[in-house]
Symmetry: C2
Subunit: 338 residues, 2 copies
């Protein structure tokens, strides 16, 4: 193996350990065993590994591209995040390469492989709904590529995260419905293996609990797309006791519910109030316009991109992950009562 | 130079001619001079150039990735196109890598460089509004990467194009307004250096001409985004003779105009009819829902992707470009009269 091209990854591969372990061994980190440190240092010496120069040259030989994997670009929230990401990335001299997972685990893995082949300098990910195994993301890290997750994150990975305050947002939304006289509030929810889905549902339940309203499981439906709302909202309206409000987990689901509720002959907000999550063009142009939570996608993108560019510049995969939280705020419009 | 790695591009570079010329010279194409053919064949022999094997190995050594450059993912039309592109690309074993130009010529050039570095197998482009020099696209072709343009195409490039029938669509839209009693029809238009902008305006003018209505230049305004419509529609409404209909060049512009018209106190469609272009969630959920042209973005994506995958499989840059046209159709909703 030639000198000047040896990387932490090469050493890690040869020894069958992770790049992060190699990095820490080279820095005499207390968590690493003496035996591992000896093996790493011996090989590093034999292969003429030069930490800083190599890191620098590797960095320079790379692509100046940041990769982004998002579930679906059709959501206003994700296109706002992309704008925020590009703002910071472009200022720092990076181009932004995007992939859609289309909510497919298999596709997400293929995206990761394409990012590895393109030698991107760092990756931003919002996970697909299907993803419950995370080894493809670990592969990025093992290849010395920092990863920052946003919005759709996972507690099982020790990684940098930028999230919106889903619990507080949902709590605020449902409390607003209660304060404007609603008593039987339905929730169109995201899958519960997603942290986001869990936290928004927790906020919903907590608001009902605080105000001593019963939690009725027939009012909580897994439904998180425009099409699904067209399909499932009619069942809600046919209940012996239909809801007097709907809290939808995202904007397009709220728009779908609004369309069904109006077509069925209910008045919004007089008969049924509707509240969404994310403030996009759809929320602003629907009639009545939708009360919603401003999710600050642009700011999420800024924070995630800043964090990633910082990690790339540090040039060291041995860092303590952080989680940044972006607050939501309620925008009151015509789809809820005064 | 080692055998088995020589490409048409290498020969082209050495001789200072285009890859397409080399390809045609090797095939004894009548358009290529005897002198050029001799130089090409001599070098090909000297370097042990093997056309088929090399093309194949090159193909296999590449990325199995198709690159896409779109102006802005926030438009429903573009996200539909992406879905169509991905359908065909995934079936053919390609991953799809996307870049936004953000309507910037400079950014578009940077996107092209990133696609070249990633060794993508082919590229799909819808040009930025700023682009009027096309050498960056020629660079893709010179590197043996086929390019197919969609929607935002340009007559000056000899390239494969997939376009929607903008002229006929606009003509149909404006004729529908005339047939429902409108006589003073404003047009919120796209920039006229864009073929799409030209053709939609031509369709508008042709419909007025056919029905012997005057063409009033104060009713034709360059205005093609939601924000711009919020800003410029009020001026239209303040004219001594305000319009009785608005034909907007895209969906978000129509939504912006609708919002202003309603706020100003005009009734839609009784006082002012509004018609857009592209049928997205915004058109379906606005109130009244927008009459519009279904632009079949998904089908545009399918056709463009099919064409590109075919070009990649041919493995030969010497082809006659084709233009495919996807028809639009009118969807009548509440924003126009019966």
């Amino acid at each position: 193996m030639r000198s000047g091209q040896v990387t932490i990854k090469d050493i890690a591969k040869e020894l069958g350990i992770s790049a992060s372990t190699v990095s820490r061994a080279l820095k005499d980190h207390p968590d690493i065993s003496a035996k591992t440190k000896e093996a790493v240092n011996e090989l590093a010496k034999k292969w003429h590994y030069k930490p800083n120069a190599v890191a620098l040259s590797l960095r320079h030989s790379k692509s100046n591209v940041i990769g982004v994997i998002i579930p679906e670009i059709v959501h206003h929230f994700f296109s706002s995040v992309i704008s925020g990401i590009e703002k910071i990335a472009h200022e720092a001299g990076y181009n932004v390469m995007m992939f859609q997972s289309n909510e497919s685990y298999e596709r997400e893995m293929a995206n990761v492989q394409a990012l590895l082949s393109s030698r991107v300098d760092g990756v931003l990910v919002s996970m697909s709904k299907e993803t419950s195994d995370f080894s493809h993301f670990k592969e990025l890290r093992d290849n010395g590529i920092p990863v920052v997750f946003f919005d759709r994150v996972c507690n099982e990975l020790s990684s940098d995260n930028v999230i919106v305050d889903d619990f507080a947002g949902a709590f605020t939304a449902v409390e607003h419905l209660i304060n404007t006289g609603c008593k039987r509030i339905a929730h169109l929810s995201a899958p519960q293996h997603m942290l986001l889905g869990q936290n928004r549902q927790k906020g919903y339940r907590q608001a009902l609990l605080k105000h001593k309203l019963p939690i009725d499981d027939e009012l909580i439906i897994k439904c998180d797309s425009f099409e699904e709302a067209l399909e499932k909202t009619p069942d809600l309206l046919k209940l012996p006791q239909p809801p007097d409000a709907i809290f939808a987990v995202n904007e397009l689901t709220a728009a779908g519910a609004l369309s069904v509720v109006k077509k069925t002959g209910f008045k919004v907000p007089e008969d049924i109030s509707i509240i969404g999550f994310t403030d996009g063009v759809v929320s602003r142009t629907s009639d009545p316009a939708l009360t919603t939570l401003e999710q600050h996608g642009y700011e999420v993108g800024l924070r995630a991109s800043e964090l990633l560019v910082g990690r790339i510049n540090e040039g060291d995969m041995d860092y303590e992950p952080v989680t940044k939280v972006v607050k939501t705020n309620l925008i009151v419009r015509g789809s809820t009562k005064n």
